[in-house]
């Protein structure tokens, strides 16, 4: 199982704030996960398209496409941050 979290504009656009899924068999990195999510189509395909500005954190650390994903991980997807 992996936990997926969505924040801010992405949470609204995707209509979900969190979900738990089985790690897809062929998904081992962040880039694989976002590609897998895009296959859901609709807002997923649009919001997570290549070139769209979103960030991914794995276990609460900023990650990039090559970051490895494993069972039990908490993976968050969110827009560029705008605090301060």
């Amino acid at each position: 199982m992996i936990t997926l979290l969505y924040f801010a504009r992405l949470r609204e656009a995707l209509g979900v704030s969190s979900e738990q899924i089985d790690q897809p068999a062929d998904v081992r990195h962040v880039a694989g996960l976002t590609a897998w999510l895009r296959q859901r189509g609709g807002a997923w395909e649009r919001e997570l398209a290549e070139g769209r500005a979103f960030r991914v954190a794995v276990n609460q650390d900023m990650a990039d496409g090559t970051t490895v994903i494993g069972d039990g991980d908490e993976i968050a997807i969110f827009p560029p941050v705008t605090g301060g």
Binding site: L5, F7, A8, R9, E12, A53, A57, Q60, D61, M62, A76, F78, P79, P80, V81, T82, G83, G84
Partner: protein, 151 residues
């Protein structure tokens, strides 16, 4: 070091007094307070709400403070960031740094703010006459953080 994410307002004077109390080696306190403005990118702002990522936000802020302490000879730093609903003139964020001398305190304070703006998971949603909108990240904030990478 203290990092706090909270809905409640903070008392700047009391926070800075607590930060420096009991250390007569402190010669300098640099601090920054960010406030809600009633205008952004030309549009009136009636209020905003701030969302964060509980757990990661605190961890990100602590890491930024640790990096500042590695980089400059400072004593301590305090970061308070509010979340929830805020209105114009409300305090959003406080960053305060104590040191022996002003140069280090100023630099570390500005460094923490610049990285907070680009690395700490907070998101602002503004209420404007045209409705609510998520605030877009600013390229100028990326540039401000990027300048600390220069040799």
């Amino acid at each position: 070091m203290a990092v706090r994410v909270q809905q409640e307002d903070f008392d700047l004077g009391a926070e800075l007094l607590a930060l420096r109390q009991g250390n007569p080696k402190i010669g300098a306190i640099a601090s920054f307070v960010g406030l809600v403005r009633d205008v952004n990118e030309g549009d009136a702002v009636a209020g905003m709400s701030l969302e964060h990522y509980p757990g990661m936000t605190e961890k990100a802020l602590e890491r930024i403070v640790e990096q500042a302490k590695t980089r400059w000879a400072i004593f301590d730093a305090l970061v308070i960031h509010r979340v929830g609903d805020l209105k114009p003139t409300d305090q959003i964020v406080l960053v305060a740094v104590t040191g022996a001398h002003r140069g280090e305190a100023f630099a570390a304070c500005e460094y923490i703010m610049d990285y907070l703006k680009t690395q700490a998971p907070f998101w602002k949603r503004e209420q404007t006459p045209e409705g609510a909108r998520w605030v877009d990240a600013r390229e100028s904030d990326e540039q401000a953080a990027g300048r600390w990478h220069k040799p």
